[in-house]
Symmetry: C2
């Protein structure tokens, strides 16, 4: 049984920073006006206390932006999402989703994914093309469609404003805590809301996307501008996240905008666009941090704040190399200030820069300590380092001292528990 | 204490296949005529039963070929090797080596590495430039030179034909078994020998080199041809090895040829060259397998035999992606035939090919079972898979069915023990 309620603790929750003009609100994907959701156990998962089938629905048609995995192996649901969005002018009304089975590498995958859309469309009085689909779980096992068919009426009948947590529960796999977040903000004197939910927690090394992520907003915005915002924000949030270096086959991020906030539709990159863009960044960055902190087996969130890079590609590449190092991840699990491994990971990053200018510090809520200057070690107090690393959110500050570009990356420690979880995932 | 004698078991030894014309012989780096070695504990390692200082010496000048890490952070010993080989026409007579401290990221690193060469040269009546140097261990801690100075006379005085195992012991870090191998073969009616030793066992993801490796031969060969052979063989052996995805800062492979077998010097790519080339391949491939099987915390050797690729770059890239997947490595530890993770890792490999033609089988000494054909799962017996995966040498066969190129890659499972070892490496 992958769902481990007993392990849910506050320490898995990330610490959120406040930002002027944006207020955190409850409700996840149902926080924005006009969105309802539901989730239930249909029997794909043998634990009746764990949902495995979810539905998200908008009272109005939504403009949709999407990014998907770059893995050559793509889950059948991704192929169907692409087809439906293309046929329907990048609009949709609903998403049906399941966990326990990724519906990937199966000969009948596309047929089953379309059947899921048809089943939902039938209940919601929609066209099949207005429904999107997402699956997560084991790769290469045929998806049983009967349990879904048998429960879709109940699923649709139970759609509600309170259903966001049930839907989130339906997409969770090895996650130990739900990942939901929403913010409200003002555009044109109208209160807008943007909220999202995500599932982790292994096979995470996004490349143009991450795992399953659904974001909803009642803000009115042109679909192509929404796509531009999503693609840019993904690059500095989900794409800077790594739990284990494995890029999933089913990564999907969908953003749905239904316009129910009644603001004048955003059609150019003006101040209103920037306000919405920032809301998307706040939600996606913090969902990214939640995914990292709840990485499979993780006991600590590991962030790298990189500065002084010659350009942003270099900044992102080096920052990702640091949080991707298995050796450094193990050292952080052991609360060992083994900064040589940070420098080693900086050194093998595929980017051009002078290693002899690099400074490294380690920090947390307990303080910050310099461990390396100009590429060489500096004396530091091991006791002080131990105190800093005993926290559950650790930050590595790297300054390349050769430019103005910055980046952040998000990861976690590598633990016994990761190995245990993944030694026998299919059972 | 990193040296765990009690864990040395036969299961960590790889199974060697025989090849006509080549005979395995004892003696490691001392198997070839004219080479002697020694190793002792000088006090860098607090365990007096573990050597930390080694010396390799040739009675005659050697032609030398070398490859080093591509990490931007390079250990000071690498800089000194390059300088000495350049000044001495790619010739050398001796190598001094230590473990416990990598002499990397230290302001005085080059000075200390040169001092090690000077100390050995003084004892051996050589020029400083005739001595090479290699270090492995913790990065970023100043190397104490006094223990080395105090023991170098004893080290040189004890050089002998039997000293190969002592020298190998001196470079081992988290290794649990020694890695030595030698073969004899005939060129021009002369018996030639080529032998080597290597140390693992973490921070292994070679790029043009691997960890520390010393290979000696009494075969006479032009230095530039030796370099050509080394560079080609490295590409398909050490460069196809990954334990944890971390490229070390101190990776060095040295091949020393002293000509004492009295064969006519190999100066062109003739049949004699091919015989030597094959000997180098046999030794380096099996040292690679030994490094993989004794990867930090490993319980199983994991090999990928890839065929049907459109070109060799594609073959190598895909084969390395499979054995580099943390998720698949965990599944192998759990003896779980989770082939979806193999296909996932094939899919995110950075190469161009059609995923829908791919076949995957899992094999060991207990048999072989097809799990995926044309990119989709096929029914197989889980019991049979369990029996196959219970072995300690596992092979994943991948056929891309879109060309003639092949490759092999070498790795190991990811275990609790890896995390334990690396959670607190510095103490």
């Amino acid at each position: 049984m992958r769902w481990r309620k007993e392990e849910i603790t506050m320490s898995k929750q990330v610490k959120l920073s406040q930002e002027e003009g944006y207020t955190y609100v409850d409700g996840g994907v149902c926080a924005a006006k006009g969105f309802v959701a539901n989730g239930l156990n249909c029997g794909l998962n043998s634990d009746p206390g764990k949902n495995d089938l979810g539905l998200l629905y908008s009272a109005q048609p939504c403009d949709v932006a999407a990014v998907y995995t770059t893995n050559k192996v793509k889950g059948a649901p991704i192929l169907v999402c692409k087809e439906h969005l293309a046929k329907n002018g990048n609009q949709a009304r609903a998403v049906i989703m399941n966990s326990k089975n990724a519906n990937t590498c199966n000969a009948d995958g596309v047929e089953k994914a379309k059947e899921m859309c048809r089943l939902a469309a039938g209940q919601l009085k929609l066209q099949e093309n207005e429904v999107l689909v997402a699956s997560t779980g084991v790769i290469g096992q045929v998806l049983p469609i009967e349990p879904i068919r048998a429960h879709v009426e109940q699923l649709a009948a139970g759609l509600s404003k309170d259903g966001h947590a049930k839907a989130e529960n339906a997409i969770m796999t090895t996650d130990t805590v739900p990942k939901e977040l929403a913010v409200s903000f003002e555009i044109d004197g109208k209160i807008c809301t943007l909220g999202g939910m995500a599932k982790g927690s292994g096979m995470i090394h996004p490349n143009m996307a991450t795992t399953l992520n659904f974001i909803t907003t009642d803000c009115a915005i042109d679909a192509s501008l929404l796509q531009k915002a999503l693609s840019e924000v993904v690059r500095v949030t989900y794409n800077c996240l790594s739990v284990d270096g494995d890029t999933s086959t089913n990564d999907t991020v969908l953003v749905m905008a239904n316009g129910e906030a009644q603001n004048a539709k955003i059609t150019k990159e003006d101040e209103n666009y920037r306000v919405l863009y920032r809301a998307l960044y706040i939600v996606m960055r913090n969902l990214t941090r939640m995914l990292a902190k709840d990485g499979e087996g993780a006991t600590k969130l590991l962030e790298c704040k990189l500065s002084g890079a010659p350009d942003q590609n270099c900044a992102i590449t080096v920052a990702k190399s640091v949080i991707g190092s298995n050796l450094f991840k193990c050292a952080i699990f052991g609360e060992d200030a083994n900064w040589g491994r940070v420098l080693c990971a900086i050194g093998y990053a595929d980017a051009s820069f002078d290693i002899e200018k690099v400074d490294v510090s380690l920090g947390s809520a307990k303080g910050c300590i310099a461990v390396c200057q100009s590429g060489a070690g500096v004396p530091f107090s091991e006791e002080e380092a131990k105190v800093i690393l005993s926290e559950d959110e650790i930050c590595v500050y790297v300054d390349l001292h050769q430019g103005e570009a910055t980046a952040e990356s998000y990861g976690c420690d590598l633990t016994y528990e990761y190995v245990k979880i993944n030694g026998d995932y299919r059972s």
